[in-house]
Amino acid sequence: MEKSKQPRVNLTKNAMLIKGCDRDKSNCTPVGKAMRRKVIILNGKDNVAVALANLKAKELIRIETGKGAPCVLLIDNIPFGHKFSLTRIKSNSPVIKYGEIIGVASTDIQLGQHVHVHNVASIRGRGDLAKERKK
C-alpha cells in the first residue's frame, strides 16, 4: 500500500501511525484504506500503545515506526482507550506513555498484553507503601 493512501494521524507532535493488519496475510499488509485508525503510539519512547477501537485478542497490529514494520499479536482483548504492550516489560521496569513514566510493571508483561491496573503500579501517591516502610 502506498504511504500517501494511509490515513493520517497527528494526535501529538511525536505520534506515530499504527494500523490494523489482516491476520490472514502473514506479511502484515494493512487491510485497506477504508479502515479506521485503530491504535496510537504517542511518543517514540513509549512501550505501550493505546487502542482507538475495541480490539480483539489474536488480532495482529502492524506498527509503522519507520524502522521496519513489526507486528504485535494481541494476547488480550483491548477495550477502546486501553493500552497494550509493544515490548516485553519486565517486572519493576517503567511503563512509558507520552514519552514519560506512568508507573512500573508489577509483574512481567508480555508483548501484546493488556497493560492496566492488574500489571502496572503507580509510583506516586502510595500511602500504602509509605505505611509499610514505617512498619
Binding site: I102, G103, S122
Partner: protein, 383 residues
C-alpha cells in the same frame, strides 16, 4: 476577536449578569436556596463550609467567598449568614464591595428563617431589577479569563480533549487574555513538565511546593490513592495510574509560560497562564477557578459529566463517541477521534464557540439548569 459582555465598575467584564445569593456557611445554604428560588435572575452559591475549621481553612473560605463575590459574572451579591459562623462575614462583604458592585447581607439569627427568606427576596428582587439595566457592550477578547477543568476523564481526555482545550488557551494568551487551571492532585507525576514552563525559579518552587504538600497529605493516610484518583470510572476508561492521568490532564493548560501559582480561593492578577491550587474533584476545583476570576470554564469529560457551575458557564467537551451518544444533551463540543487531525485546528473551533458562549449563547448545562452546586475545598479536619 471581540465578544459582548457586561461592563463592571472594577474594569472587569462579565459574560453573565446574575445576582448571586451566597451562603456564608453551610447552615445558611438552604435559606440562600429558598431566596434564589423566589427570584428569577439570581443564582445561589451553596456549600457546607464556613465553620468549625482550623484557622487556615477559615481564611481559605473567607477569601474564596470574597473572590466568588467579585467574579464579574455577578452584578450584585446578597450574603446570607447564620450569625455565629467562624468566617468573618463583614470582611467578606467589604471585600466584595471593593469591586464596586451592590452587596448586602442578612443574618438569620437576627430576624428568623422566614423573615430572612422574605427580606432576602425583596432585596434580590430590587437588585435584579437594577442590574437588568446593564447592557452588553463590545469588548476585546483580552478581557476573557478561561478556567480549565477535566472531570470524568478517560483515555480520550488526555489524547484529544485536553490538548484541544490547551490549544484554545494558547490562543487566548496570544490574544492577551488569561487562563487559569488547577487540580494539583493531577499534577502528580507530571510536575517536571510544568516546572519547565515556570516563568521564574520562585514559580517553579511554588509548583513543586503545592504538589509536595498535597502528596504528603495523601501519604499521611496510609493508602494508595488509586481508586479515588484515578477513580473507578477513570480506570474503566483506560487510565491506569495517577501519573498517566496527570500527563493527560496538564495538557489542558496549553503550552505557555506559567506566570504565578495561587492558593485555593485567591484571585489572579495580570495576564497570561496561572495555576491555582486545588483538588482534582471537579465541582470543588471549579469553585477555585471561579474565585480566581474565570468567566467561563472549558471542561473535558471522556466518561461524561453533566455538571455546571452556579454563575460560570461550563463548556463540555468530549472525544468519547459512547459518552457523546449517551449524553448528547450534556455535550457542547464533540470531537470525532476518527476525523481528528490536530489540536490546533480543533482548538480554533473551540475558541470560537467559547467566545459565542461568552457573548450569551447558553451552554447545555445552563439550559438544563445543572448549575446549583459549587462547594468549597478545605484541607484540614472539621472540628
Amino acid at each position: 476577536m471581540s465578544f459582548y459582555g457586561y461592563p463592571r465598575s472594577d474594569g472587569s467584564v462579565g459574560i453573565r449578569n446574575y445576582v448571586g445569593i451566597i451562603a456564608t456557611v453551610g447552615c445558611s445554604s438552604d435559606v440562600a436556596q429558598d431566596i434564589s428560588n423566589q427570584i428569577e435572575g439570581t443564582v445561589p452559591f451553596l456549600h457546607y463550609q464556613g465553620c468549625a475549621h482550623l484557622q487556615p481553612d477559615t481564611k481559605l473560605v473567607e477569601r474564596t467567598l470574597s473572590n466568588l463575590g467579585q467574579n464579574p459574572n455577578l452584578a450584585a451579591v446578597l450574603l446570607v449568614s447564620l450569625g455565629c459562623e467562624s468566617v468573618d462575614v463583614d470582611s467578606i462583604l467589604n471585600n466584595i464591595a471593593i469591586s464596586g458592585k451592590p452587596v448586602a447581607k442578612l443574618v438569620i439569627q437576627e430576624i428568623g428563617t422566614i423573615s430572612t427568606i422574605a427580606e432576602g427576596s425583596r432585596i434580590a428582587r430590587q437588585m435584579v431589577s437594577d442590574v437588568s439595566r446593564i447592557k452588553r457592550e463590545t469588548f476585546d477578547d483580552s478581557n476573557l479569563i478561561f478556567g480549565c477543568e477535566c472531570g470524568g476523564s478517560d483515555a480520550t481526555s488526555g489524547l484529544v480533549s485536553n490538548p484541544v482545550i490547551g490549544a484554545a488557551c494558547d490562543r487566548l494568551i496570544e490574544n492577551n487574555g488569561s487562563v487559569v487551571f488547577s487540580e494539583t492532585t493531577e499534577f502528580i507525576g507530571a510536575e517536571h513538565l510544568l516546572t519547565k514552563r515556570a516563568e521564574s525559579p520562585e514559580v517553579k518552587q511554588r509548583i513543586l511546593h503545592i504538589v509536595d504538600r498535597y502528596e504528603k497529605l495523601i501519604l499521611s493516610w496510609g493508602a494508595d490513592m488509586r481508586g479515588g484518583n484515578p477513580s473507578r470510572g477513570n480506570i474503566e476508561g483506560g487510565l491506569t495510574t495517577i501519573e498517566e492521568k496527570s500527563l493527560g490532564a496538564i495538557s489542558k493548560g496549553g503550552s505557555k509560560p506559567i506566570k504565578q501559582v495561587y492558593e485555593y480561593g485567591e484571585r489572579i492578577k495580570g495576564k497570561g497562564l496561572f495555576i491555582v491550587d486545588g483538588p482534582g474533584l471537579d465541582y470543588k476545583s471549579m469553585t477555585a477557578l471561579a474565585a480566581a476570576g474565570a468567566q467561563v470554564i472549558l471542561f473535558s469529560t471522556g466518561r461524561g459529566s453533566p455538571i455546571g457551575f452556579p454563575f460560570v458557564p461550563v463548556v463540555k467537551i468530549t472525544a468519547n463517541p459512547v459518552a457523546y451518544e449517551h449524553m448528547r444533551e450534556n455535550m457542547d463540543v464533540y470531537i470525532n477521534i476518527d476525523e481528528f487531525e490536530n489540536a490546533e485546528t480543533e482548538g480554533q473551533l473551540l475558541y470560537d464557540e467559547v467566545v459565542e458562549i461568552a457573548s450569551g449563547k447558553l451552554t447545555k448545562a445552563e439550559v438544563l439548569g445543572i448549575t446549583n452546586f459549587g462547594g468549597i475545598y478545605t484541607f484540614g479536619p472539621i472540628l
